[in-house]
């Protein structure tokens, strides 16, 4: 089972690069949804069966796989935008940076002591690489939707690390992470709606009336 989990994590890392390299928003939204679904399946592979687990997994699958993509799709259609235009940093440089971050996170994870049963998996490097990818998307993209996607990828990175703790920690931290995702995304969805109404586009670089001269 564990080898499957590791292969899924490789898929997660590949999706990071897909999101970094594409300009079509609909494609990015789908990619992040797929990433969320993969992360939803992961706990089933590494933990023994329980109804509690089934509940959590179905919640993750519904929010990350269906609700959030639908919300973002609707925001995208109502604003009438299809592509990320002119990111602050081009696609090739961000891809390269993403590769560098991924390599660094493998190096970083190698230096940290791990539990014997976690020794051979990629949870920690995958988590940190995904986190950094999210951060990269957040800082280099202009469109509000892309920034929300960046936030979601960042959250996914944190979620991967949370898997290591799922058995040891009380459910509260888990629930907190999900709550954060749920509420954060809903509130962000509402704000996005208001942005598109005020500016009739979702380009955050037009949000510059408050810049310092």
């Amino acid at each position: 089972m564990i080898t499957i989990a590791d292969q899924l994590l490789v898929l997660v890392l590949l999706i990071n690069f897909v999101v970094l390299g594409t300009s079509r928003l609909i494609f990015s939204i789908r990619a992040v949804a797929v990433q969320g679904v993969i992360l939803g399946i992961l706990p089933a592979l590494i933990h023994p069966f329980s109804w509690h687990l089934v509940g959590i997994i179905s919640m993750i699958l519904v929010t990350k796989g269906a609700v959030i993509p639908l919300l973002l799709n609707r925001a995208m259609r109502s604003a009438g935008i299809k592509r990320e235009v002119e990111p602050f940093l081009g696609y090739v440089p961000t891809l390269l940076l993403g590769a560098v971050f991924t390599a660094l996170s493998f190096g970083f994870a190698g230096k940290l002591p791990m539990l014997a049963e976690h020794q051979n998996y990629m949870f920690v490097p995958a988590s940190i690489a995904t986190l950094m990818t999210g951060f990269l998307i957040l800082t280099t993209r202009r469109k509000a939707i892309s920034q929300v996607l960046g936030y979601l990828v960042l959250e996914n990175g944190i979620f991967i690390f949370g898997l290591l703790l799922a058995e040891a920690m009380p459910i509260m931290v888990e629930a907190g992470a999900l709550l954060d995702l749920l509420v954060g995304t809903f509130v962000m969805g509402i704000v996005i709606n208001h942005i598109s109404r005020e500016f009739s586009s979702l380009d955050t670089s037009r949000l510059t009336s408050l810049k310092e001269e």
């Binding site: 230096k111 940290l112 002591p113 791990m114 539990l115 988590s127 986190l131 951060f135 957040l138 509000a144 920034q147 936030y151 960042l154 959250e155 990175g157 944190i158 690390f161 949370g162 290591l164 703790l165 040891a168 920690m169 009380p170 509260m172 931290v173 907190g176 992470a177 709550l179 954060d180 509420v183 954060g184 509130v187 962000m188 704000v191 208001h194 942005i195 005020e198 500016f199 955050t204 949000l207 510059t208 009336s209 408050l210 310092e212």
Partner: protein, 477 residues
């Protein structure tokens, strides 16, 4: 009693949600704020023992932040009765509910010793404040809201991974996995230093961005500038302190794990950088609310430097929680009055406030004198403690940079504030319906009196709490 602290504002949120009248709602808000303040004072006098296996434990650090938040909220709630009467053009339902939910979550941050719960509560305060920044419903306020939400959410998410690292450190060390502060401090020696080190970096960045330490402060001028005065007061005087309390918890852990020197240096560097950034951007600031935001960046910098210096300066940091929180209340509430009266927050239009609004203008001027660290107000005491302890400990560079920044900030702020309050009201100034009344002037005046009183005399019970708090943060060689 601890449950009352959390539940009372939540009940208040439901009640204000049910009230249909925009005029009655602020009164309900004030009633619940008054109740919360009562419970707070009762808890400070008769502190309950730790409960729920150590999850809830109101210690001296929590008490200081709880007191300053509750007092500030009380005055803001009273102020809202007068202020919201001028803003009847739109419903204040969301504003009142948001404030009360934020108060409940803020109380949770102060009473819990469980870092996971603290994180959830802190995230709740961030989210509950989001719609309040958007109160004015225009393009500028949506921009401010977006920046605030994005930067603070990312910050809090980074803090979460920091907490996960800490939890994993306990698992690797083979001790019982826990995020309870007391357990972590007890087992600190066994934790693997690599994980703990990484955790502290993420926690510092995460809570630092919520607190607005430079270079993570970019959301502050926008959010403070565009939100109504009373929301600005709660953000600058309340939420900042909650984030600082979270940093204090991390600091306590650092003390136990002997990683303290690294954390202290990081705090001093970020603190001084914040003060210098504030000094640079404060100069020639034509928008007085944005100027107040940079003043907030400066003061979180002061708190960070004080904590980083350690020793006697820690007392200054703790006292500054109260001093800065209350003085920010004075400034934001009185600047809200001036904004209403001139219908502008640009110093091009706002002149001669002392003539037009003798009370609000006077309080704003006094608040400026207080926040820049002049005696006999409370911020003087904390800033003086920090500077003197820096020089006593031989940290001359830090002390000198601290003093130079304070000097530049004083000049920069004076260049904005003095023309605002002095001189003649421009001929073409817009005439609005706003007049100073007891309801809008009383709360900032009350806060100013407290800032003055704390500057000349610290009551013995408060002194005890401050000293207990400082003892919790002492470095043991």
């Amino acid at each position: 009693m601890l449950a009352a602290l959390i539940m009372l504002p939540l009940i208040g949120a439901v009640v204000t949600w049910l009230i249909p009248s925009d005029r009655l709602r602020p009164i309900a808000l004030s009633v619940f704020a008054c109740g919360h303040l009562g419970v707070t004072l009762r808890l400070l006098i008769a502190t309950p023992p730790p409960s729920a296996g150590g999850w809830f434990n109101l210690d001296a650090l929590g008490k200081i932040v709880l007191l300053s938040t509750s007092v500030l909220f009380f005055f803001c709630a009273i102020y809202s009765i007068g202020y919201l009467a001028y803003r009847l053009e739109r419903s204040n339902r969301v504003l009142c509910i948001g404030l009360l939910i934020c108060l409940s979550a803020a109380s949770m941050v102060t009473i819990t010793h469980h870092l996971g719960l603290l994180w959830v509560a802190l995230e709740t305060t961030t989210i509950s404040m989001t719609p309040l920044i958007y109160f004015n419903r225009n393009a500028r306020s949506i921009e401010a809201t977006w920046k605030y939400l994005l930067i603070c959410s990312v910050g809090v998410a980074l803090a979460l991974i920091g907490l996960y690292f800490l939890a994993y450190a306990t698992i690797v060390a083979g001790v019982e996995p826990s995020l309870l502060l007391d357990d972590l401090i007890r087992d600190a020696d066994k934790l693997s230093s690599g994980w703990v080190h990484a955790a502290f970096v993420f926690l510092l960045v995460g809570f630092g961005s919520k607190m607005g330490l430079a270079p993570l402060h970019t959301w502050k001028p926008d959010a403070y500038g565009e939100s109504p005065g009373l929301v600005g007061a709660m953000l600058a005087g309340g939420l900042v302190n909650l984030a600082f309390l979270s940093l204090l918890r991390v600091y306590q852990l650092c003390l136990a794990t002997r990683e303290i020197a690294f954390f202290q240096n990081a705090l001093v560097v970020m603190g001084l950088f914040s003060m210098i950034m504030a000094a640079i951007f404060m100069a020639r600031q034509a928008d007085f609310k944005r100027m107040l935001a940079y003043s907030s960046v400066e003061h979180v910098g002061i708190m960070a430097v004080a904590l980083g210096l350690g020793g006697k300066a820690v007392f200054g940091a703790l006292f500054h929680i109260l001093a800065n929180g209350l003085t920010k209340g004075v400034l934001f509430l009185s600047s809200g009055n001036i904004h209403r009266s001139y219908n502008s927050k640009s110093t091009d239009h706002v002149r001669g406030a002392l003539r037009r609004l003798p009370w609000s203008g006077g309080i704003f001027l006094a608040g400026f004198i207080a926040i820049t660290g002049s005696p006999p107000f409370a911020p003087f005491i904390s800033e003086f403690t920090v500077v003197s302890s820096a020089f006593i400990d031989g940290r001359y560079m830090v002390g000198a940079l601290f003093l130079i920044s304070l000097g530049i900030i004083f000049i920069g702020m004076a260049l904005t504030v003095l023309p605002m309050v002095m001189g003649e009201v421009p001929e073409d100034s817009e005439v609005t319906s706003y007049r100073d009344t007891l309801w809008t002037v009383g709360p900032p005046l009350g806060l100013l009196l407290m800032v003055f009183l704390l500057g000349v005399w610290i009551p013995a019970p408060l002194m005890t709490i401050l000293q207990e708090g400082a003892a919790l943060l002492e470095v043991h060689p």
